[in-house]
């Protein structure tokens, strides 16, 4: 099982790329842990996550090919 992670804004400065494929994670908590071990600076960064464009505030089971977006604070306008 794989999920597609997309990074935006200042988070791309940390990841150095805008898309990351992560394998073998069952839920969003596990995914975040994995990302924080890959990119330690993420742990000190403010962001929310969206699974298939829906912002989630609690742990959520992931399915194959979900797209998880890492969204730092918005700055439109």
């Amino acid at each position: 099982m794989q999920v597609n992670v997309i990074a935006f804004g200042q988070i791309t400065d940390i990841t150095g790329r805008s898309t990351i494929t992560v394998n073998d994670v069952t839920d969003t908590n596990e995914l975040i842990q994995k990302l924080h071990s890959l990119y330690p600076a993420l742990a000190n960064t403010k962001y929310v996550i969206a699974v298939d464009k829906q912002i989630i505030n609690e742990n959520m089971l992931l399915e194959n090919n979900n797209t998880v977006a890492l969204l730092p604070p918005y700055a439109g306008g």
Partner: protein, 147 residues
Amino acid sequence: MTEKKLKNIFSQGAIPASFIAESIQKHSSKTGIGAHSIFLGQVRSDAINDKKVAAIEYTSYEEMALEKMYKIREAIFEKYDLTCMHVHHSLGRVEAGEISLFVFTSSPHRNAAIEACNETVERIKAELPVWGKELFADETYQWKENT
């Protein structure tokens, strides 16, 4: 998500003043309108530690932003007696002094147009996944944050 036509609000670069003028002109045939309200966001040249912002480079999670904008639009039309609403947001580089956001609401009466415009601008700033990189003249940058 059900099939629906999501209006694209994004375009590359600054929003020209001529585009805004043409948008106003296009409404002359809608004679039920009695009031327009327009908000224009302009890139401000903030000074940060002696360096001035030369431009902002905007990026977005476009698919999510357009879905969110659709919901905002629906909610605003439900709440206010509007004839129409138009929203345009820049992506890519916009120089200081240029326009990056254009929100245009029209209604039979001024209160609805003004309040709907304000609320739409506030919701765009708070809810649309858009980011701005503030570029300095020396090619360094910082990420913009909405206050």
